[in-house]
């Protein structure tokens, strides 16, 4: 029998740390997913077992755990796999790798405990500020410190990959950067650039404000600095999914990647264009001139290009794979794809849903048409297709390939895995469709009580009750899917038997390799410089204008600390306000 050559056999030390990282990610997914069900059932009024005052605590935890903790832990785990596998060498010092993981964990615990303080009286903290932590919402300092530690951990992770690459480059001076490493490095470069925004926002303004060192902040400034980071973070979630679509989907399809150069161009475009677009989240913010918003819109529309290139390249690669497996005809080749494999099917369905998310994203990105859906449930439907499916479903699906690589064990039940990924697709169809439709008739997001008094929403098709039922059904199916996933992962890890039949740790070969790409594509300094220039063009004037109008520390806005107990004087004031 041939010797097994899984990742755990090649890099046992790295496999151990990646396992720990992925389990942190899965734990966040399980808790965050459960909280999502609580929210879904609450705001649709199907089942309420928390008071509405606690909704923001649940929403904050759901957002932070899923869009920050689950996705980014998965990213750092998978990028560590990508760099070590493609460079065929371990990290320089495994203690350093454990170190940045520990920093990220400490950050996560600080953030988690401070959010939990919103519902547990014994914890003297509060951080009901949602994942965007807009001021004047103010969180306990532990929330901001935890967030900073988490981001610093990712910076160190990036340094870990860069220095592994530098060591490899010294030994291989004339070689092109292997594609998975190229993808990890370009992603980290725009992450470094964009997270400067949130670092300044927290360290210079929000944390000192929370500690009482400064009296006030400029909400528009901290909000703009957040979105300087907040849109690139969307691509930070997506890039591991893109990497898996480029490097794993063609392989699982039985073929090769159609074009390595095209994949490199896509990642270079994301490096250049991810950051100077954040203002498109602020189309309705007063204080930013329309012209700056127009520039942000133009940059955003250019970002469609790499996604369309990806759709073409990945589908072409899958067709190549299907034809290698005997597929024929214009469309009949689709039947030859490995639909029984949950890793393949999950990733393919995630890519399909991402196309739908891309279309609704174009509506969000359009300066004028955005007014129709801004801050409505449409937006929530949109990002549940992107981060909630393109990223989350790809990550879960890929785990059916990665966990055997990291443990040396076969998946406990692959058929259950197939049912799980399909269930996610169905659940998300119900939920995101209803959210998009609700947004079109103006139903707001981020509220436990979406129904206004003395006013009825008018859906174009069906009724509000049907929309609510569809969301509740979708949320229930999605949560069931998460539980099936975690059950499969737990039983694989603790109950599965070690197998010699684990496939070799490889990624897709290419039909057109790196030798077909101009050498300049690998010039990371050049692309980073262009990205910096574009950021300066997009942000210098808006930031100067915001500071000029509102000052660095704002016009003296008092913090608002959300409380789980309603203040009687505030209630009285509200009642007076609505009295005729």
């Amino acid at each position: 029998m041939a010797m097994r050559n899984a990742y755990i056999d090649q890099f046992p030390k790295e496999a151990r740390v990646i396992r720990a990282i992925l389990w942190s990610s899965f734990l966040a997914l399980t808790i965050g997913g459960t909280l999502g069900l609580i929210q879904g059932l609450h705001r649709t009024n199907v089942l309420r077992f928390i008071p509405s005052q606690d909704y923001y605590t649940v929403l904050t935890a759901h957002g932070v755990l899923l869009v920050i903790t689950f996705t980014i832990f998965f990213l750092v785990g998978i990028f560590t796999w990508a760099v070590t596998t493609s460079l065929d060498r371990g990290v320089k010092d495994i203690r350093f790798t454990w170190g940045w993981y520990a920093i990220m964990m400490i950050g996560t615990l600080l953030v988690g405990v401070s959010i939990l303080g919103g519902v547990v009286d014994q914890i003297p903290m509060n951080a009901d500020v949602l994942y965007t932590f807009y001021s004047p919402f103010q969180a306990h300092p532990a929330f901001y410190v935890g967030f900073v530690l988490f981001v610093v951990g990712t910076w160190l992770a990036g340094f870990d990959w860069f220095r592994t690459w530098w060591a490899w480059k010294k030994d291989n001076p004339d070689e092109r950067i292997p594609l998975p490493t190229f993808m990890a490095l370009t992603t980290m470069l725009f992450w470094y650039l964009s997270s400067i925004g949130v670092a300044i926002s927290i360290l210079a303004f929000l944390l000192p404000w929370s500690l009482g060192i400064i009296d006030s902040v400029n909400p528009l400034l901290t909000r703009t600095l957040f979105w300087f980071f907040g849109h690139p973070v969307v691509y930070f979630w997506l890039m591991p999914a893109y990497m898996l679509w480029y490097t794993m989907l063609p392989k699982l399809s039985g073929g090769k990647l159609f074009s390595d150069p095209l994949a490199r161009v896509v990642f270079v475009l994301f490096l250049i264009l991810s950051t100077p677009v954040g203002i498109h989240h602020q189309y309705l913010d007063p204080g930013i001139a329309e012209g700056f918003k127009f520039i942000a819109m133009t940059n955003t529309m250019f970002l469609l290009l790499p996604s369309l290139l990806t759709a073409f390249t990945v589908v072409a690669s899958m067709e190549h794979g299907a034809r290698q497996r005997g597929g024929k005809g214009y469309l009949s080749w689709l039947k030859a794809l490995p639909w029984r494999d949950p890793a393949f099917t999950g990733m393919a369905l995630a890519g399909l849903m991402f196309a739908a998310g891309g279309f609704s994203g174009m509506i969000n990105a359009g300066l004028s048409i955005n007014y129709l859906v801004h801050n409505s449930w449409w937006v929530v439907g949109h990002f549940h297709l992107t981060v909630g499916t393109a990223a989350a479903l790809t990550f879960m699906a890929a785990s059916y390939w990665f966990i055997p690589q990291l443990t040396g064990k076969e998946i406990w039940n692959r058929s259950l895995g197939l049912v799980q990924v399909v269930l996610w697709f169905i659940g998300m169809t119900f939920m995101s469709n209803a959210m998009h439709r609700a947004g079109l008739f103006g139903m707001p997001r981020r509220t436990a009580e979406p129904q206004y008094q003395g006013f009825d929403f008018e859906p174009a098709v069906g009724t509000v009750a049907e929309i609510d039922a569809q969301v509740a059904l979708g949320a229930a199916l999605l949560t069931l899917s998460v539980y099936l996933f975690i059950t499969n992962m737990v039983l694989t890890t603790i109950g599965g038997s070690t197998s010699d039949a684990i496939p070799d740790n490889t990624y897709a070969g290419t039909l057109s390799g790196p030798e077909d790409a101009p050498v300049i594509i690998d010039n990371l300094k050049l692309w980073t410089s262009i990205a910096v220039v574009l950021v300066i063009i997009a942000y210098s004037l808006p930031l100067a204008s915001i500071i000029d109008a509102g000052g660095l520390f704002g016009p003296g806005i008092d913090p608002w600390k959300p409380s789980v107990v309603a203040d009687p004087s505030l209630v009285l004031e509200s009642v007076r306000g609505v009295m005729p």
Binding site: R325, R340, V422, V461, G462
Partner: protein, 66 residues
């Protein structure tokens, strides 16, 4: 079978967005379906796909793909 079990499962899943969105599309043409009618239409579509998938093709030669 004309298609693998995995492929059939994916086709059934793919019918979900089609059925859900079909209701919206039909409303643009003035055809308004209730939830029950949409469900019935969906079941009919699923039934048609099942018959197509399970019906032996080419005199009983089964597809061995995937």
């Amino acid at each position: 079978m004309r298609i693998s079990k995995g492929g059939l499962l994916v086709i059934m899943a793919f019918l979900t967005p089609l059925i859900v969105e079909l209701r919206t599309v039909l409303s643009w043409f003035g055809i308004r379906l209730s939830v029950v009618e949409t469900g019935a239409l969906g079941l009919a579509l699923i039934g048609a796909v099942l018959i197509w998938a399970l019906w032996p093709s080419n005199g009983g030669t089964e597809a061995k793909l995937a």
